[in-house]
């Protein structure tokens, strides 16, 4: 919009309010994570009386956080990579190829967004059990089960965003490449994918964030060996004791990888969305 004086004043007011609204809870988390437990118990202190790094050291022993970290990393990275791969293929077909059942497929995939997670938590487990009984493939309590679950959860939105993005890429680019004899798939990999980088990054970020923070399905589909980080956070608040400062410190640790990655690709994210999903 045009920057009149009024606009600038209004902008400063609105942005200040929004910043405070975002910042206060974040400040509470970070400041609490730096307080000794005895200072956390009483009335909230905006300026910590005493600052200590010990919650950040203790979190690793109260709960086997390092192992959860590793689990989460494996599961989330695999789910993200696979989800993007599968979504790229499907989105390309939808954006560029004509085939029977395309509309039905797209609609079905998108309609899954309306299923309440609660509805298929137990059924999914039952199906995994049947698969185990029939094939011996262990899907409960293994990385594999959670990976395919998460990648599927993010697929509908990913396919939808990517197909929009692919559709926005001029067909001439591919056609030139296909004339050079690369074939359709060659064109997809050599021409479309490099051009679609921002869209792919946007989708990857979305998949990563969704999988990294999920707890409901993780609580049923993991065991001690495969427990994820977000789930591990709950362990700081057991029935017998709540370690608020450690919980907050662990929250910071859990959030950091997502935040850093997010900040790194954030520019592409907006570009990806603006060309793909949002038309």
């Amino acid at each position: 919009m045009i920057e009149t004086r009024n606009f600038r004043i209004l902008r400063n007011v609105v942005l200040t309010i929004l910043s405070l609204w975002v910042a206060i809870p974040l400040y509470v988390v970070v400041s609490t994570s730096l307080k000794p437990l005895k200072d956390v118990a009483g009335l909230f202190q905006w300026i910590p009386r005493e600052i200590t790094a010990s919650p950040y050291l203790d979190i690793w022993t109260t709960v086997p956080l390092a192992k959860y970290f590793q689990n989460s990393l494996i599961i989330t990275v695999c789910a993200t990579v696979c989800s993007v791969t599968v979504a790229v293929l499907a989105a390309y077909a939808i954006a560029r190829l004509q085939f029977k059942g395309k509309r039905a497929f797209s609609l079905t995939v998108l309609s899954t967004q309306m299923f309440p997670g609660i509805l298929f938590l137990l059924p999914l487990y039952l199906i995994f059990t049947q698969i185990r009984n029939l094939t011996g493939l262990q899907l409960q309590g293994s990385y594999l089960g959670l990976i395919i679950t998460y990648m599927t959860f993010t697929l509908p939105f990913a396919i939808w965003m990517l197909s929009g993005y692919f559709a926005s890429i001029p067909k001439e680019l591919e056609e030139a490449s296909m004339i050079d004899g690369t074939g359709r798939m060659g064109a997809l990999f050599r021409v479309i994918l490099p051009v679609a980088k921002p869209g792919i990054i946007a989708v990857a970020v979305y998949s990563f964030i969704s999988a990294w923070g999920e707890v409901l399905f993780a609580s049923v589909l993991t065991n001690e060996a495969t427990k994820t980080l977000s789930l591990g956070l709950k362990s700081y608040a057991s029935e017998s004791d709540v370690f608020w400062n450690q919980l907050m410190a662990a929250s910071v640790v859990v959030s950091l990888p997502v935040l850093i990655g997010f900040i790194l690709v954030q520019k592409h994210l907006v570009a990806g969305l603006s060309a793909g999903a949002v038309k």
Binding site: M1, V22, F44, A95, L97, S111, M114, F120, A167
Partner: protein
């Protein structure tokens, strides 16, 4: 959403995107459709996605629907394949509006609807405000943009537990600001997580987590509005509000269609936030549908009843979505 997104190419004719992807179309209004060749390629391409969707989404959903028609309790969990078929019994037992459980269910659906409207509405307003004011260039814009997205990037559990900590009546930061600093509520510390207030508290937490998503999508949509359009409007004497109404709003309408629908579905099915804020049993005034279903299936190990509730919900969501797609989205598609 599907009309616009999946079947037609975006005709971004005449837009001068400030942030175009390399090779962005300059003028692709209606490329001639090519004669489709008979090929297995498209099916090969969608096969992995189709398998996964069937395995993880469709299959479990069908099984979930089936469960609504059987009696699945602790008595036959170990042998659930042979659980007795009871027809509509679960629906009759649980959803009879005369019965206590039925009343609870229907009033919960109504409450969840109100919740969804409030959360999505406020998230959209905040997201829009952020997007509009961050679309102009000024110092610190990039930093603020990243900063505003943090609540969305945080794991849901972290954001919610932080708010739960702040909402504590005696020691929490919220009452410290409102009561100790600003002396509101006659110096009486309100309970944010009890009674009627808990509904509001839950809405606040959900908005905090959801608005950055609206912000992100709307910001992306606004990238496509060239500044000279505003300039022209300003020269014509349009006020800020008029510029917003006549230029900004129409520009984000296509994005809005899908954004509002996705946000509504996510919010309507919200489970994590009440579960972290209130544990397995929410206050009466703040019970949403998903926690209620959880309580009636996992809490009591009576999965038929929970299943019946889920199925009713699914039907309602399906009708609402279909209606929405028909009524609202084609308008957006027209702009393509």
């Amino acid at each position: 959403m599907t009309h616009s997104a999946l079947e037609s190419s975006p005709a971004d004719a005449g837009r001068s995107a400030p942030n175009p992807a390399p090779g962005q179309p300059e003028n692709v209004t209606a490329p001639p459709a090519r004669k489709p060749r008979r090929s297995f390629l498209p099916y090969g391409l969608i096969l992995p996605a189709a398998i996964l969707e069937i395995l993880i989404h469709i299959g479990p959903m069908l099984l979930g629907i089936w469960i609504a028609f059987i009696s699945l309790t602790q008595l036959n969990l170990t042998n659930w394949l042979n659980a007795p078929f009871v027809g509509l019994q679960n629906f009759i037992n649980g959803l009879n509006p005369e019965s206590t459980i039925g009343q609870a269910f229907f009033s919960t659906v109504g409450r969840t609807l109100g919740y969804t409207i409030l959360v999505v509405g406020f998230s959209w307003i905040l997201g829009m405000a952020g997007a509009v004011f961050l679309s102009s260039n000024f110092k610190g814009r990039a930093i603020l943009r990243t900063f505003f997205l943090i609540p969305y990037a945080l794991p849901a559990y972290v954001g919610t537990i932080a708010w739960a900590f702040m909402f504590n009546q005696r020691d929490g930061a919220v009452n410290q600001i409102l009561v100790d600093t600003f002396h509101l509520f006659g110096d009486e510390r309100p309970f944010w997580l009890l009674g009627q207030n808990s509904f509001g508290a839950m809405i606040v937490v959900n908005i905090w987590q959801l608005w950055p998503f609206a912000f992100l999508m709307l910001m992306a949509a606004l990238q496509n509005v060239p500044n000279d359009v505003y300039e022209a409007a300003a020269i014509d004497g349009a006020s800020l509000w008029q510029q917003f109404r006549t230029i900004t709003l129409p520009m984000v309408r296509p994005a809005n269609g899908v954004l509002l629908m996705v946000m509504s579905l996510w919010t309507f099915n919200q489970f994590n936030i009440p579960f972290v804020l209130f544990g397995a049993s929410s206050p009466k005034e703040a019970t949403l549908v998903s926690p209620l279903i959880y309580q009636n299936s996992f809490g009591s190990w009576n999965f038929g009843l929970g299943g019946a509730m889920s199925v009713l919900l699914l039907i309602a969501l399906f009708i609402a979505s279909a209606f929405y797609i028909r009524m609202v989205l084609p308008k957006g598609a027209d702009n393509d």
